[in-house]
Symmetry: C2
Subunit: 258 residues, 2 copies
Amino acid sequence: MPPVPSDDRGLTLGDGLFETVLAKGGALVLLDAHLARLARGCAELGLPAPDLDAARVLMAQAAEPGPRIAVRLTVTAGSGGRGVDRPAAPALRMIATSAPAPLPEGPARLATSTVRRNAGSPASRLKTLAYLDNVLARREARAAGADEALMLNGAGEAACAAVANIFWIKGGRLFTPALDCGVLAGVMRAEVMAIAGRRGVEVREVRSSPAAILEADGAFLTSSLVGVRPVCELDGVGLGEDPLIEAFGAAVRDAGLA
Amino acid sequence: MPPVPSDDRGLTLGDGLFETVLAKGGALVLLDAHLARLARGCAELGLPAPDLDAARVLMAQAAEPGPRIAVRLTVTAGSGGRGVDRPAAPALRMIATSAPAPLPEGPARLATSTVRRNAGSPASRLKTLAYLDNVLARREARAAGADEALMLNGAGEAACAAVANIFWIKGGRLFTPALDCGVLAGVMRAEVMAIAGRRGVEVREVRSSPAAILEADGAFLTSSLVGVRPVCELDGVGLGEDPLIEAFGAAVRDAGLA
């Protein structure tokens, strides 16, 4: 991919967004949902509308044939402006890259991160280039011997993993943190909620202490690259294996979404 | 400046730091303090120690002669890694750029931003490449007809401006938000506190409601590029002009710091 000028606002300020889409045999999974989220994010950040046709072309070019490829579209606010002030008419810059996306081995062990989600910023609900908190949370989880972080928000409520949404099951109901907890509106999160709706499984979007996860019958992560991944452990405490976890994992696989 | 590869983690994830230093006639003001902060920031983010000699060379090259030039050093976590996970041995990438740094005209009018500082992340106390919240806060302030934002933290406490620290004066004492409110450890903030100490002016680092600023005898912003800038207005309410504001402004100018 072409390099980026050193005055790009994505580089200098994290001023931009990205999407990561799974490509299977060259086909981009749930592409429309990703592009719709990108357009909503640009509007929310006050950026011009992205050229979605151009995005499709770039991403199709990056989607090499192969069983599981991650195609990343990076959209920056472009060059220019003075300091944090954007130029009067920002010209977005778009880049597509690809990398292998192997499935992780086994269920996830989570460690609660000290790095909190900022529910007081719209960026906490978007996939922005200012992703450093997620980098730091994952790093802390790895240092604790875990695979992934459980991130809380400033109020101490459960929010999400470093690069995934989280669900838990209790009494046959599905629970997941509400978006206003500081949670990315995950494409796979929405798919799992839709599957639950079709199967008559009640889903509650909640503001909840992380203790609810420890008291649950089981928990799982969702992301576009992985689909559904069971959580076996939170801070060293083993979690249950409610059969709904495997049911949702199978539903996502059967629909070709992961 | 050379472009940056599209897989640079500064671009893709905001994984890195920057410093902005005032150059006057080619001389970099308070350079040692900026480089010391950069080194502390790299340590706090778990990045390798930056090559400060190389940084000095790059910044000196960028410091064109001229009355007021802003020299920016951008230090990214470099290329590589898998998703948010850094490579085992990150190789930092350093870039220096420059731009004119004219003094702003007149005092600042502040508007309180809805975008909050994330006191629950170490990034809130560092000058990281994940600077989007500051971009959004400034944008909101401009839309409200102001020059700069007053940012609160998640607890609703006064924190800072989008690109400056804030002080206020009450009864001859100086007040400024404590760093653990989610505040950058500003180089000019530290200089002003040192000047106050030498002059026998008491400084209190506080957790405070923004109402304290409205009830103060005056307020000012500090930053490396501007020095001391009086605040004349917060959310449309006029603020006082305590003579200490001009005294600190003059002290910073007389020391050649702005």
